[in-house]
Symmetry: C2
Amino acid sequence: MTTSPDPQPIAERQLCGLVNGLAQRITEHVRVRAATLGLTAAQATALREMTGPMTMRELAERMTCEPSNTTFVIDKLEKQGLVERHPHPTDRRAKHLVLTAEGAALRTRLLELLVVDSPLSGLTDQEKRVLHQLLEQAVTLR
Amino acid sequence: MTTSPDPQPIAERQLCGLVNGLAQRITEHVRVRAATLGLTAAQATALREMTGPMTMRELAERMTCEPSNTTFVIDKLEKQGLVERHPHPTDRRAKHLVLTAEGAALRTRLLELLVVDSPLSGLTDQEKRVLHQLLEQAVTLR
DNA sequence: CTCGAATGATTCAAGCTGTAAATATTCAGG
DNA sequence: CCTGAATATTTACAGCTTGAATCATTCGAG
């Protein structure tokens, strides 16, 4: 009664725990590098995904979060003069997010920081390919 | 200048995105089931990990979060009468967390809910083993 | 034994994240 | 053209999470 090992769900649970742990490690990696540029992890992720002008929704999809969340994050980046909300050229409902010159420069530095010592550096290219395939399958199938 | 595809880091980034996406899907799975029991995802995770009496720190490690976070979550569970903080038998600094009868009963129902339609059901047992091995390797190796 | 370092837990401030509701705009039919 | 459904964004709110500071207790070296 004190420490029953729990019968079946243990394998699934372990696996979920590993996924979660790795995700946290990835976030931590971003957090540390971003901090050296005065950015939070969320702000850095937004900046990283800004490969070009896009709408709030597009950014939300890239960040896999809710659009309301990007409102919050972009507010911060805009206050720092890194991003600007322009009117969208064809849809007056949408915003067209564009990096300022300063934002683009900071993004370049950020990308340089993020590639070193990746949290997945413990895997070979071959292993990464297998992992990618499995994750893709897990995410897309149901 | 408008949409440069970004040179090298794309593979790593995609992989990290997949891990993150799957982690969110796992959390979402817990969130939905937990809600039917009047629990939040964090509360349900804590309850799930309560396989027996343990300290706050032990629980934090199982949940892969900071101890200060478990203080917050256990506060909620304690208010609902599901968990109690007892003095630790051998270390007066520590708390001994124990489930109440109600807590244990709710945990049993929760575990039953969590095993159905797991977010990893798109993978075969064989694939799960491979995934487990790769994740373990990624997490432990630096 | 005693002192200082380490550990368990908590508190607080700050930031992240999701849901639901509200507003503005677009779009497809009729 | 008009209307209702759908979409883009924002706001308000509630809950989660972290990190630093704090307090009590334990542990180890001398």
